[in-house]
């Protein structure tokens, strides 16, 4: 035991356990529960049946009552652990309930029925994942459509952003020309004007271009990002000028220098921008909410919001769809966390 305690309390540096160390670990443990707990609860809840969801107090794991096929009855019957008058306890299936009495049948012996007061029986439950929460929305709602809309918006918008931002960054990083500084100031200046400030006029522009209720209305307005241009330009400035001069000597066109020399060298910065763009687009909400008014063009985020705003909220479907919406971001996080955190630490953007 002494060895173990020593191991648990050992710290690099000074030897003794200071109260701040205890506080730190308590704080962190609490943080893990507070940050991960809600997500875990969401995932567990998403596997519960509608009956399991309205239960109060809620069960931790998704449980549902066992149902059995009994001869002579068309539907499967729910199973109860029943205490009979003589004190014996048996597993019986309920045929129907009349007031406070329920009519039960022995699944082993279908001819034998019992009348039991309902407080003498208890549900028999098993661990079961209600996978239909996930499969039903695929058939019953436009969920698959929302999913594909979100994927299209994310992929196309990211491709457009990477192309035009890297071209602009190349123009600003590689060439010396009159007006370059003015353009840089202009690019940084557009940072001052977030979409929340120009909702009405951008809506007008998008309407004029005939893009309302099409995915282009979501893709195009945010495609040119000042942060992207800035990030890529700063990276491209570090590429040695000699390389570009050498390519020009070899009679490469400017486009070839851009696409075959500079872009491959700027891959790390482009990867960071790609990750950010994917997250921005997948999570985008306010702007799609304004320009997408028909269910066929909804993205996941807008569709989810529409579902939760309905009068009769179908939580079992909403929770499952929320989990699906969460999966891509979680995967990106699991594999690319390091990129994202260093990107944020360096660029101070989100």
């Amino acid at each position: 035991m002494g060895k173990l305690a020593q191991m648990m309390t050992a710290r690099r540096g000074r030897g003794r356990l200071h109260w701040t160390d205890v506080f730190s670990y308590v704080y962190l443990a609490f943080g893990v529960v507070l940050m991960f707990g809600p997500v875990v609860w969401l995932v567990l809840s998403s596997f519960k049946t509608p009956a399991g969801l309205v239960e109060f107090p809620p069960t931790f794991l998704p449980l549902s009552q066992i149902e059995v096929e009994v001869e002579g009855h068309r539907k499967p019957l729910p199973l109860y652990r029943t205490t009979l008058e003589d004190g014996t306890v048996r597993d019986l299936a309920q045929i129907r309930r009349i007031g406070i009495v329920s009519q039960m049948v022995d699944p082993e012996n279908p001819d034998q029925t019992y009348k039991v007061p309902i407080d003498q029986r208890e549900e028999i439950r098993e661990f079961r994942l209600a996978l239909e929460n996930y499969s039903d929305p695929l058939e019953r709602f436009n969920f698959l459509k929302y999913l594909s809309n979100s994927v299209i918006v994310t992929v196309v918008a990211t491709a457009v952003t990477l192309l035009i931002n890297s071209m602009a960054a190349y123009g600003l990083a590689i060439y010396q020309f009159r007006g370059r500084n003015a353009i840089m100031v202009f690019v940084i200046g557009t940072l001052l004007i977030p979409i929340t400030v120009i909702l009405v006029p951008v809506y007008l522009v998008v309407t004029q271009l005939g893009m309302i209720n099409s995915l282009w209305a979501v893709i195009l307005p945010g495609a040119a990002t000042p942060t992207g241009v800035f990030l890529l330009r700063q990276y491209m400035l570090t590429i040695p000028k000699d390389l570009i001069e050498a390519a020009r000597m070899d009679k490469a066109s400017e486009w070839q220098i851009y696409s075959r020399v500079v872009l491959p060298l700027a891959t790390p910065a482009i990867a960071v921008l790609a990750i950010f763009s994917i997250m921005w687009r997948w999570n985008d909400f306010l702007w799609p909410l304004i320009v997408l008014n028909r269910s066929e063009v909804y993205t996941l985020q807008v569709g989810l919001n529409a579902f939760q705003g309905e009068l009769d909220v179908q939580w079992h479907y909403i929770l499952a769809m929320t989990v699906v919406t969460l999966i891509p971001v979680t995967l990106v996080f699991a594999f690319l966390q390091r990129f994202i955190t260093t990107g944020i630490a360096n660029a101070g953007m989100k």
């Binding site: 809600p38 309205v54 202009f186 070839q256 696409s259 989810l304 630490a345």
Partner: protein
Amino acid sequence: MAQTDHAEHDTSSLSDRLTALAAWPVHLVFRLLEWPFAALQRLVGIRRMPWLFLAPNLVFFGLFVVIPLFINFAFSLTGGTQLFLSDRPFVGTEQYGFLLDCETFGDPVTCREDRFWKGIYNTATFIFFQVSFMVLFSLITALILNREIRGRGFFRAVFFFPVLLSPVVVALIWKWILLRDGILNAFLVSIGLDKILFFVSPEWSMFWAIFVSIWAHMGFYTLILLAGLQAIPPDLYEAAEMDGTRPERVFWRITLPLLWPNLLVVVVLALIKGVQIFDEVFVLTGGGPGTATQFIVQYIYNTGFTDQVQNFGLAAAASVVLGVVLFFLTMAQLAATRRRDDG
């Protein structure tokens, strides 16, 4: 990254192959664009090529940022319900007059457009608590994560994870927890308290709006502060230890002053984000109960897009007011960032 060499080799060869597969359409597009760009280069000469590369991005900026900025002013000076400017009557500063018409500015009820002022007061309340507690908890978390802690990478990831979640997902997760028969009420009942209908009470709704937005964004600010803490030269701490300086003194005399520029950046960034709060709270509370959690952006959204009569002029005027506030905050951010990076 605790993979064996063998596994790493396998995944890298697979990812190489996937990358090559994903890359070929990209190569194709760049190849196809080669000829037209070469032709353009012959036409305009190499000196004008940068403009050609800049053109697409500048067209987008012009179309979706610069032109809208001017149209926004034009909108705010017109009335009526038509979307197209040519159909809208010029009303001068009437919209601004309507927005700013208050008997006393201290009380939203005395204003003609009380929803706008309610939005401003709500936003101010929200920002005050959200920014102060978020910065406080980000600082504590960053200080703890900066210690020699086992599993530091894991804990950092845990605090950062909610940052990536979409606002809609964040709001739904918490709405599910806070429902009348939700798990939080189950906990309250289990310790002998009564259920609380959180979304019926204005105070609780505001509390949870603040709490949830801190939960979702704290990791981002923690990360910036952590980067700032790690940039503090370790020899300063070593020197302090040799002098036998007390830890509290080290914090107040070394850590805090050297972190101050970063803290300033974090405060201003949080203010800029806070003024524009919309998504999470809109899904969580819908602005309710009544207008208890309706913020400025939701006022603009409602006025311009969801009200029976779409009042674009009024929405544009409110956007201009929001834009002015954001302009000053962004200036403060640039000043703070410059001070940090120079100092």
